[in-house]
Symmetry: C2
Subunit: 430 residues, 2 copies
Amino acid sequence: MQAYMKKNRAELLTIKAELERSYEQSKTEGLALNMSRGNPADNQLDLSMKMLDVLDAQTPLKLDTGFDYRSYGGLDGIPEAKQLIAEMLEVKTDNVIVQGNSSLNLMYDSISRSFTHGVLGEMAWCKCDTLKFLCPSPGYDRHFAITEHFGIELITIPMNDDGPDMDMIETLVKEDASIKGIWCVPKYSNPLGITYSDDVVRRFARLQPAAKDFRLYWDNAYAEHHLYSDKQETLLNILEECEIAGNPDMPYIFCSTSKISFAGSGIAAMATSVKNIQDILQKLSIQTIGPDKLNQLRHVKFFGNIETLRQHMCKHADIIRPKFEMVLRILEEELSELGIGEWRTPKGGYFISFDTLPNCAKEVVEKAAIAGLTMTSAGATYPYGKDPEDKNIRIAPSFPNLEDLEKAVNIFALCVKIVSIEKILSMKDK
Amino acid sequence: MQAYMKKNRAELLTIKAELERSYEQSKTEGLALNMSRGNPADNQLDLSMKMLDVLDAQTPLKLDTGFDYRSYGGLDGIPEAKQLIAEMLEVKTDNVIVQGNSSLNLMYDSISRSFTHGVLGEMAWCKCDTLKFLCPSPGYDRHFAITEHFGIELITIPMNDDGPDMDMIETLVKEDASIKGIWCVPKYSNPLGITYSDDVVRRFARLQPAAKDFRLYWDNAYAEHHLYSDKQETLLNILEECEIAGNPDMPYIFCSTSKISFAGSGIAAMATSVKNIQDILQKLSIQTIGPDKLNQLRHVKFFGNIETLRQHMCKHADIIRPKFEMVLRILEEELSELGIGEWRTPKGGYFISFDTLPNCAKEVVEKAAIAGLTMTSAGATYPYGKDPEDKNIRIAPSFPNLEDLEKAVNIFALCVKIVSIEKILSMKDK
């Protein structure tokens, strides 16, 4: 095969005609395929079904100390759940708050609390004239949406293979006190699948932000979500590095078990300095009496400790790995020699990030939708949903079964080819 | 017995000496009694233990439609839970959002959302110069704390036997556009135990607030929490009445199953107009992907429908009723003829509201604490924790067992007597 760019107009038209026949054929099949969100598949959810058995009507839920898992209280989470999360994030239990079912909610609440009441005594953001947030992109649309919702200006930071562009970040935060934070998915990032290098993490820890209330929103969503147990990536401990660097209060670490146990019924947690924890708990005590402790206990009883949790993650990997491998194989077979797309091979996480030729992503996603394949909206991985080059598409292969996934990726590849040829033809016309 | 006020100084000193001997005796017993919070007792929590059996590893949790209770989504709650709550609040399912474990959290989030983003297109409260909230008092300290936390000025509204002083409310909200809402516990209120009369509810519905974004924070926390199944009070449907009165968007109704199932692991809900629901869901979609649907399903499977839920509430009443009756009997026996305290006899809810002589409540609570009895802080039932007459004390009899409760109420009565005599003596001195 030859790169499309090198082909002449007649050759491209011939190829296009054939591709369009396949595409029309797909459309007649009435498909309803979905590669849009990082949803676990049924059989991944099945892995945790026994969690529903660990508490039953006979379980003693009141301790001799008087502590009752069923009642009110326990604002920062039950000690056993704090222990499990602390092991997962390699921090101390004093640095952990365990809450409800959604880490996104914890992030939203952190932004909202900063907006209404400020951070560690600093001015409430709602009283600031200008607010800015750094958004390494491509990144996670729901992160960007929270800060956009609060009228915070989003600044795109380019991503390198080892993390965000640290030169740019260092300069920006040092000069501009209106920059209040940065969204990071430091391990198996969404959507690139990269892990921040030790150098990048250390440069984060050593930032000298003009804003005292600048925070790293360190969403370690995929800490344990490797695809290959023998090729796991490692991430430096940001809390430790920040302590060493004299910035102990800078990181807000978030995580959840949404993709470990049940996507809608996991437990979510936050880890940060004791000083931040105290500040947050004081405000949180106005918001709620405490989280669902029974669900925290369910998780502790089911997972036991970090070792058994990690064994559980190998089962997830066994289910997801073949899906990633299939997507990558088909992309390789269908597109690698055509010069119309680039992608990375992640070692973990939930996504494959695909770059089309410039100005093709939207059309590819629209074309796929017409054939019954839902993709993440093009542009979603950039602030304000606007990809400046209109080329990034997030592929989420976790939810469909292998059979559906094969169809889906083939349709995707087909759409990439057709749209690319159209783009190349229109360029040749000019 | 004779009222203390009618006794002379010598008589009072004699009584006081005897009371103080009893008090000193109590102090030596090393008691640790608690009548401070509306916590359900162990055996009330035991009533719902079988809820832990309704879901197990074999339960089919993915429907034929593709809907999976375990996965993400379902922002407004699962349809069956919306149905159950709709029956409880006598509204339509379209008017209901079911969320996580805490209605307090829903109230906080509603205030916070209004503060950051405004209500139905009105200006965000954080941009308003002055914000005020009406606080019928005695009322619920955690309500007042939320609005105080946001710097909203709290205005005390006196309570009558049939609800808050509506004359005052009507005048205030009509004249002052900075009044954005009112905290109400309309049935078996906290702490008075009264239920708003039909007239009061209709006057609420017909309010003509200057602020378009004025909302009734209608915390129907005790809707089903009667003490006597044959003497239940009824509350007019505020949503219907507001529709009739042309104020369809005015009420935000809140409720939860915290005191029906598990205090920390119930489900909480909000009911309001469809227009408000849409406004809220749009903003909520930025905050979270969805609530814990498995816990909602647990509730639906365990309670079945509103009739079986109401049967369940009779079991709660059977446990709580003797506690209320014991408190009321001891207060009657110990204090009724002494002219040093007043209280109501509630037909539901979790509290007995006790009024001492003016300027005695704080001392009574302090004295009780020294003898090992924790009461709700005096003043807590008023905005800013300041009871202008220092006389209201909230008695929460639900948590202790009958034996402890008997000791606790006797100590309480003892403290009321001693402090009252001291107060009367100091008045006689003047």
